[in-house]
């Protein structure tokens, strides 16, 4: 069985530690991730901005990269969600459409794979800290990843979970939205950080580095000492 890591461009370039945590954590279950180096970006920035011709170019690269994989695992509900848009992107190209549907059916966000496929909720981790969680919109609303991270966190020894007020509100990232509508985005992320602060948590955890870069960047800007991590990092740190 070939299980491939779809690292996503953000984790590849800026947060390689998230990919490393996934690789090391899954290796504990005998799951060896392989990494097709021809992969690049899922194409979401172009797709969401309306540049579908450009999005198709990168989507094709991703489809090629994972052609012979049995599972494609990413640390982002948003980028996995983008793969779910590929059939729409190639709706007028029957050959590509078939390949897009095949990729969609084997693509998983990290916790989806860990909990729903492997059946793991207790990784044996210990993390004695106060933790809050931001459910990223694409992962939770469009992929339906809601219970999985909760199940994983509930089994971590010593972890004190504090619910985030207004957790379901978007952090304001939205890709190019954060640049094009920077003041609306700024108001949204400022409110999100206010809520993180209210929890008095030491750690903010999530499943999408784009949202975490956004919230974390705002917390740093305000010199708030909250540690921001992907759940894969937290779990790996807890078993190390």
């Amino acid at each position: 069985m070939k299980v491939s890591l779809f690292i996503t461009c953000l984790s590849d370039a800026i947060y390689p530690r998230v990919g490393e945590a996934m690789v090391r954590l899954l290796a504990r279950y005998g799951v060896t991730l392989e990494f097709p180096t021809v992969q690049t970006c899922c194409g979401q920035p172009a797709f969401n901005s309306g540049y579908w011709k450009e999005a198709r170019a990168t989507a094709k690269t991703i489809i090629d990269a994972f052609e012979d994989s049995d599972f494609v695992i990413s640390p982002s509900g948003s980028c996995t969600g983008m793969i779910h848009h590929y059939p729409k992107l190639f709706e007028d190209d029957p050959a590509m459409l078939e390949r897009a549907l095949a990729l969609q059916s084997k693509s998983f966000e990290f916790t989806q794979f860990l909990v729903n496929v492997l059946g793991v909720t207790d990784v044996g981790a210990s993390f004695p800290h106060k933790v809050t969680y931001h459910p990223s919109c694409h992962g939770s609303r469009l992929l339906g990843v809601k219970e999985e991270p909760m199940a994983l966190m509930s089994k971590v020894k010593g972890l004190e979970f504090v619910p985030l007020p207004h957790a379901e509100d978007c952090c304001g990232f939205g890709g190019t939205f954060a640049v094009k509508m920077s003041d609306i985005s700024g108001a949204m992320v400022t409110e999100k950080s206010d809520h993180v602060k209210e929890t008095e948590a030491e750690v903010l955890v999530g499943l999408d580095m784009a949202c975490l870069m956004n919230i974390g960047g705002n917390l740093r800007y305000r010199n708030e000492p909250v540690r921001v991590m992907h759940l894969a990092e937290l779990l790996y740190e807890g078993v190390k």
Binding site: M1, C9, D12, A13, I14, P16, R17, G19, E20, V23, R24, A27, Y29, G30, V31, T32, F35, T40, C41, P45, A46, F47, N48, S49, G50, Y51, W52, K53, E54, T58, T61, F71, Q104, S105, K106, V117, L118, G119, C137, H138, R141, L142, L143, G144, G172, F173, G174, G175, F177, A178, M181, S182, D183, I184, S185, G186, A187, M188, R220, Y221
Partner: protein, 509 residues
């Protein structure tokens, strides 16, 4: 379509949003009320118990009706005419205005009392009526306040959501010519007394229409203040403005809509008043208008028919739940949207009703595509997808932003090949040496200006993931665990399941 007074205060979405973002009163008022409505809806859904089933039923009713709109519209019109209603069709906003004015002129009307009509806002009918010397009075409390302020509604069901009670007390005190206390009972009492006289002297009552029932040619109004009932019973002439998509087939379908709409709008189990009106006053009726008109308005709606990406837009039942759930609306309120309809539904509806893409403004970009609107929608309209389709149509029609056009071409070139992507990362590492301090970039210039006004930017680490991969992979393979039979079985099962067409799907497919 003219954008009307809604665009007052700024030509672009960004300018209008900035006005709102700098208005603490507005932001506080909007947050307070949308939160109250959103929480009310969540509670009502939970108490209902089978919300998802009813939501799906509502969606199916709307899908079916719109798919056969010609059939049901004909049925409605035939039945309404048989009931003695004068039915008019208006293809454009101007035609609908002309028909309304000609009725007012024929009746030598001096005043019109109005209730519950976003369509009349869409037509900017009040200005037209005033231009021929007819006084138009809004009688929904929120609309009355907005009319006094000389503004347009900033929410589909709570038009004055952006005002707090002190601002409202000031407006009403000016209207009354005496100081009124900022107490909701006192303020509502004043408006009730004031409007009572207006109802009695009005020549025409004008309303919108929540649902039009095809099987009997009836129109149904949902309201909480009782004023729509006054508007439809006291004046001698009644005019109903309805969007051509307001139809549902039967009274049985109304039960589903009456379950979904008030709960989604305000969290109420039932609206206070639900009026079903089937024609003008009959001989045996104690009250009601002698003459009744229904003006069926197209104004861009039929553009969506047969368009697989936008036809579902006509399923909207105007509950406002998407506005209350929207994190963007929460911060900028309704006027920033620049059209009659605000929030996510407005961001899609305003451009969609307008055939000329060249005149679309930037409103479809004012969304982070978080999908809260879709999740809140009682008939599951995929507004977040439609926003992307609007952006694509604008780009494909050649109205994309020039800088962005170039940027996206570059994006496709650099990110469709891993070698080029690698080069970009390497160049980034060289470039950031000049602007980073302690692993962060705080510089507020160029493309980083907007982002860094609210955040710091992380720097690129020494090695990207792909540069570390060789070492990491070798280390893992060196000390690899054997896969447990249980996990192996689960994975094989997942692959088999997938071949049978099972597996996991997109949340909203």
């Amino acid at each position: 379509m003219s954008h009307g007074p809604g665009t007052a205060g700024g030509a672009t979405v960004k300018e209008r949003a900035d006005l709102a973002l700098n208005n603490e009163f507005l932001r506080k008022a909007v947050k307070f009320t949308t939160e109250r409505l959103k929480n009310g809806k969540l509670k009502a859904m939970e108490e209902h118990g089978n919300w998802e089933e009813w939501r799906e039923r509502g969606r199916q009713i709307r899908l079916h009706t719109i798919a056969h709109l010609d059939y049901y519209l004909n049925m409605f019109v035939e039945n309404a005419r048989a009931n003695g209603v004068h039915v008019h069709f208006a293809e454009t906003a101007q035609e609908a205005v002309d028909i309304s004015l000609s009725i007012a002129e024929r009746k030598s009307a001096k005043s019109v009392v109005k209730s519950k009509s976003m369509v009349s806002e869409e037509l900017h009918l009040n200005h037209a009526l005033e231009s021929i010397g007819v006084e138009a009075i809004e009688t929904d409390l929120g609309e009355y306040i907005i009319q006094l302020a000389g503004e347009v509604p900033s929410h589909i069901i709570i038009p004055a959501i952006h005002k707090n009670r002190f601002q409202i007390a000031d407006l009403l005190s000016e209207d009354a010519g005496e100081k009124l206390e900022a107490d909701t009972k006192i303020l509502a009492g004043y408006v009730r007394r004031r409007l009572r006289a207006k109802f009695l002297e009005a020549d025409i009552g004008m309303t919108g229409c929540n649902f039009a029932i095809a099987e009997t040619g009836s129109m149904v109004l949902f309201e909480n203040e009782g004023n729509a009932r006054m508007v439809t019973t006291l004046p001698k002439t009644q005019i109903t403005l309805m969007g051509m998509e307001r139809i549902i087939p039967s009274w049985a379908d109304l039960e589903v809509m009456a379950t979904l709409l008030p709960r989604s709008a305000t969290g109420q189990k039932l609206t206070m008043y639900m009026s079903g009106i089937t024609g003008p006053r009959r001989a045996e009726d104690a009250d009601g208008p002698d003459e009744m008109h229904i003006i069926i308005v197209d104004n861009g709606r039929s553009l969506q028919l047969g368009d697989p990406e936008f036809q579902e837009l006509l399923n909207c039942i105007r509950c406002g739940a998407c506005l209350n759930a929207c994190p963007v609306y929460r911060h900028i309120g309704g006027h920033a949207y620049g059209g009659t309809y605000s929030g996510p539904i407005g961001a899609v509806l305003t451009p969609s009703l307008q055939k000329n893409i060249a005149e679309w403004d930037d409103i479809a970009n004012a969304s982070s595509l978080c999908g809260a609107c879709y999740e809140a929608c009682p008939v599951k309209i995929p507004l977040h997808d439609m926003l992307v389709y609007l952006r694509r149509r604008k780009v494909e029609a050649g109205y994309g932003n020039k800088i962005e056009n170039a940027g996206m071409k570059g994006f496709a070139t650099l990110l469709s090949k891993s070698g080029r992507f690698n080069t970009v990362i390497k160049l980034g590492k060289i470039g950031q040496k000049f602007i980073s301090r302690g692993g962060e970039i705080r510089l507020k210039v160029g493309p980083l200006a907007g982002w860094n006004t609210y955040r710091v930017t992380p720097t690129l680490p020494k090695k990207s993931f792909r540069q570390q991969w060789g070492t990491l992979d070798a280390e893992i393979r060196n000390g690899l665990q054997e896969m447990s039979p249980d996990i192996k079985k689960r994975m094989e099962h997942a692959i088999k399941d997938r071949a049978k067409g099972g597996g996991h799907g997109h949340g909203h497919n």
